[in-house]
Symmetry: C2
Subunit: 343 residues, 2 copies
DNA sequence: CGCCGTGGTGAGAGCGCTCCCGAGCTGATC
DNA sequence: GATCAGCTCGGGAGCGCTCTCACCACGGCG
């Protein structure tokens, strides 16, 4: 059989069909796994596809199906430096891996200025993607509010601010983690456990604080006294710890809401001549590979499995895109205590 | 004028044309900034576009122009953990920012297994993107070899292994940086300057070593004696430093080929009771924000501006895509010395 | 023996866009 | 006043795919 090669490069479905001796429609049916094809046709088309190295043209397919085969992964974060955070790298990597075998492309959208936000909104509204994963932890974030009005399936990583009604999300159990951390310190017999919080405009920090509160049974006055905001930065953690130390000289333990802040807190404790964990036990949060194992002493921490979180987000979104039922709109993933030497 | 809204959602070019009272062809000309349109037509179409909130359908456009409007950003890295490296995050962020205003989408492709590699090759060959940025530093990498056969514009970040003939790339001046670092130590009057290298299968490490060699004038025997491979890891840096210290007890300076390794080296020096910089001066490489400023003492380091590198890569690739002439196929970006306390 | 249902198939329309080509309209030239 | 160059513009084809619809062959049934 003589098969005319497609003039000018890549084979089309027409070429495949010709080679397989069937019509374009049948070839298409095979590619889309339609049940209504004979086994001979299926075989012939499959062979032709691999012989020609055929790959469907995404644009043509997108044009007729009105599906782009791409999703956006949006990070909305007013502090651009946060993007240097390895946590962010980890989330991206996890998303890339989770999507790798699904033939769905991921388009990265980083937002920090108002201009970026307008661009992101336009992009998401513009039908360039079929859905989105959103990370927008800040209270001041405006993007969530406008995106939720879009007829676009979105799965959030962590709870965004504002009403959750109708939102799909996968959160880590920050409150449970805070509880776990603080209870561990209590079980060591510690009595005066302070807490270095993250920024109050991020719900992860608010939740971790809530965990601490419920473990120690703190009222507002006690919370006021025993906590300091470290803003999720190393320097902030150091300063917060120093302030707490000045205010409560006989404190014997600290739950610090991130490993990065805990590294700063350890510095403050060292400078104050406190021994860890002998004088003061410290528990961090994140179980950050690049930090927790390398502090002095190595940091006991709460692990949240970001890979797993993203994997859940991706599969949740893909279900939404396929119009499959999802078990629950909201999932909360457990955290666990990782023991090292600081507590 | 009565304008029939497009039945079922998003406005099409047809709608815009109808509203502006022109033909689809003219509307298209306006969108593509063709010079052959009257100012009235231009105005009318522009107005219609913004009134309708029209956004062109990428798929339809891609279908006819045979351009996808997307590029791939490929990281080929056998050690998946490297993806947790903040350096990687920085590169991604820089790429995202550089592409943000160009209306080109970026598709992230992470490769570490052979399977990933086959998938990446298929993807790049499949016409899903118009071009690619490639980071493939390892000698063992197979992807470069197959990708260079593709009729796809590619700009490399750093020199890949193998023949460079015909490749477009933007490299950092690693050799110059090594020279800079070592000359700085020489200028401090140091006499026995050792070097902790990165893995020999990465040209960045090979180049940094070459810089050290040329600065100290080392022959092979001296190189054998005065260098140790730290593999670009913290632990490796620590072990390498310890070995050098054992072999050359009176060494008075070390050029360590990455900040991460330098952090490990400082640990080894501390454990050996050496003071930095009094006994031994140390210079790192990367000027890594999360590391260099936070070691004890803070690390003097060589800065390579990754943001700038990626910016150059992106603009180079965009030029290639537009068939514009590029000044040079290969660019080498300068490095600079950042002084802190370790040297 | 005619009828209908059923499974496999192909023809053809059409997704929204770009671009070629030729129509029409101006103003300058002989 | 006829001709032509120079512009702007619209008609229409066609990019590669999916999907509807009609068709055909076949077997089982009344």
């Amino acid at each position: 059989m003589i098969v005319q090669p497609h003039p000018g490069g890549r084979p089309t479905l027409e070429d495949v069909a010709a080679r397989a001796g069937v019509s374009r429609a049948t070839a298409s049916r095979v590619l889309n796994a339609s049940p209504r094809v004979s086994s001979e046709a299926l075989e012939a088309v499959t062979a032709a596809v691999s012989e020609l190295g055929y790959q469907p043209n995404r644009a043509a397919r997108a044009l007729v199906t009105r599906r782009t085969g791409a999703i956006a992964v949006v990070f909305s974060e007013p502090e651009p430096k946060i993007f240097d955070d390895p946590h962010f790298a980890r989330l991206i990597r996890a998303a890339a891996r989770a999507l790798a075998e699904s033939d769905v492309q991921m388009v990265l959208v980083l937002v920090h200025s108002a201009e970026d936000q307008a661009r992101a909104h336009r992009f998401l509204a513009g039908g360039h993607v079929d859905g989105a994963l959103m990370f927008a932890p800040h209270q001041s974030d405006q993007l969530t509010a406008v995106v939720r009005k879009l007829p676009l399936p979105v799965v959030y990583g962590g709870r965004p601010w504002g009403p959750l009604r109708g939102l799909h999300l996968v959160d880590n159990d920050n409150e449970g983690g805070g509880l776990l951390a603080t209870n561990h310190l209590l079980s060591l017999g510690r009595k005066r456990i302070v807490h270095v919080t993250g920024p109050h405009d991020e719900l992860s920090a608010v939740d971790r604080l809530a965990g601490w509160r419920s473990a120690v049974g703190a009222d507002d006055a006690m919370t006021e006294l025993m906590t300091e905001n470290g803003g999720y930065t190393r320097e902030g953690g150091k300063r917060a710890m120093a302030r707490l130390l000045a205010r409560i000289p006989d404190l014997d333990a600290a739950f610090v809401a991130s490993d990065l802040m805990a590294a700063g807190a350890l510095e403050a404790l060292r400078e104050a001549g406190k021994r860890v964990p002998d004088d003061i036990a410290v528990v961090g949060f994140d179980d950050h590979a690049a930090i927790a194992a390398h502090t002095e002493p190595p940091l006991t921490s709460i692990r949240q499995d970001s890979d797993n979180q993203v994997k859940h987000m991706v599969s949740h979104l893909l279900s939404l895109l396929r119009d499959e039922p999802v078990k629950a709109k909201r999932q909360v993933l457990p955290t666990e205590l990782v023991l090292r030497r600081s507590a």
